[in-house]
Amino acid sequence: MAAEATSQPADSAVAHTGESTEAAQSGGGLPQFRFEFWGGQIVWLLLIFAVLYTLLARVFVPRLRRVLDVRAETIASAVEQARMVQAEADAQATAAKAEIEQARTASRALAAEAKAKATAELNKRQAAEDERLAGELAQAEDRIRGLRDAAMTNVSSIAVETAQAIVERLTGAKVTAADIKAAGQGAV
């Protein structure tokens, strides 16, 4: 097409100036096929396109590309950082959990130990108390036994005296306690 345009005779290209409208109206057909205008349009289009391409390819596309790359990088690094922070937080949570678990075990052990100690103490004290009570009981029993024995001795002396008095009253004879005792022994 370019060849077609430029193969037009030079005179038509020169002749167009100032009479383009009349030519279009009289000649008829599409104005696009008036080839005397093709050369200029093609040359200028190539020039404009070259300038536009150079500006876009050298200046604007790299600029936009850089911005997009920086953005992608920023987002990627932010996501990476967030992921790292999350991993760290997860690790910390795990550590805290382990720590809590450890503390719980330790406290459980401590509680068990304290309980055992308390139980032992209690048992010891109870045993001591029991011993003391048993001692007191034995002491009391001894005292009761003594009192009873004393009472029993009194009973025999009273009986001897009573027997002396009865014998004296009945017989008028005085008997000694030893006699009565001997008599009592013999009777028994």
């Binding site: 097409m1 370019a2 345009a5 030079a10 409208t21 050369g39 349009q41 536009l52």
Partner: protein, 261 residues
């Protein structure tokens, strides 16, 4: 009423000397409305990206989001079609997409559409195909014939397939140029024709009598203009996108020749 074709006419804006290139003939370098709209389109792109990237921050502002959106859209397209080498060809695809897109949109806002000039679309198409050929021969050398000989096809099919592939390759620049040109031309002609109907039917309605119905027709045409305008916005984007996709596909054919990915 002006002809629907009037909008495509070229008017000189700034007269510059004609350069006589040996072998090509005289080339008039005068700046006309087509060249002016190309310059405006390129300036808008440069201005926009200068603003977008002037204070490019990691956390983008509103304008930067738009710029990055367009950037990412074409970047994904290039890497999606060409693969990991998409980045190499991304600036070209990006430039061609932006340039066509802004020229198409300028046609909807201003009075002239540079992409409705066959000279412009043909140059862009030939440029794309030339890049494909240069890259293809630089990468594959004599292996370029594989472009027309698909692997794994039996020899008796190749007799049929190879000429078809060859012809379709030759037609690529033609279809690339004509698709964009035709869409822009057709859309703008249709817009002008419907807009012309509004004026002429109103004029008819003004004559009174049964012709008053012309007002209804004018209203209908106005609705058509509105609908077509919104459609043209879609087409303006779509054609730029299609051009970029096809540039990627054609580049992929020669970059990844022989090994399909």
């Amino acid at each position: 009423m002006a002809s629907p074709m009037h909008q495509f006419e070229i008017h000189p804006v700034l007269t510059l000397p004609t350069v006589n290139v040996p072998g090509l003939g005289a080339i008039d370098l005068s700046i006309n409305n087509s060249i002016l709209s190309m310059m405006i389109a390129a300036s808008i792109i440069v201005l926009f990206f200068a603003l977008v990237t002037a204070r490019a921050a990691v956390v983008p502002g509103r304008l930067q989001v738009i710029g990055e959106g367009i950037f990412g859209y074409i970047d994904d397209l290039a890497t999606g079609i060409i693969g990991h080498e998409g980045r190499t060809f991304f600036p070209f695809v990006f430039t061609i997409f932006l340039f066509i897109l802004v020229m198409n949109f300028l046609g909807l806002f201003l009075v002239f559409t540079a992409t409705s000039q066959l000279a412009v679309t043909a140059t862009l198409a030939v440029m794309t195909i030339l890049l494909v050929l240069v890259v293809g021969f630089a990468r594959n050398g004599a292996n370029m014939y594989k472009l027309f000989v698909p692997a794994g096809v039996p020899w008796y099919m190749l007799i049929l397939v190879t000429p078809i592939e060859f012809i379709s390759f030759l037609l690529r620049p033609v279809t690339l140029a004509l698709r964009l040109f035709g869409n822009m031309l057709g859309g703008h002609v249709a817009l002008k024709v419907f807009a012309g109907f509004v004026v002429s039917l109103c004029a008819l309605g003004a004559t009174g009598g049964i012709a008053t119905l012309g007002y209804a027709g004018a209203l209908l045409s106005l609705g058509g203009v509105v609908a077509l305008t919104s459609l043209e916005f879609l087409v303006a984007f779509l054609q730029a996108f299609v051009f970029a996709v096809l540039a990627c596909v054609y580049l992929n054919d020669v970059v990844n020749l022989g090994h399909h990915h």
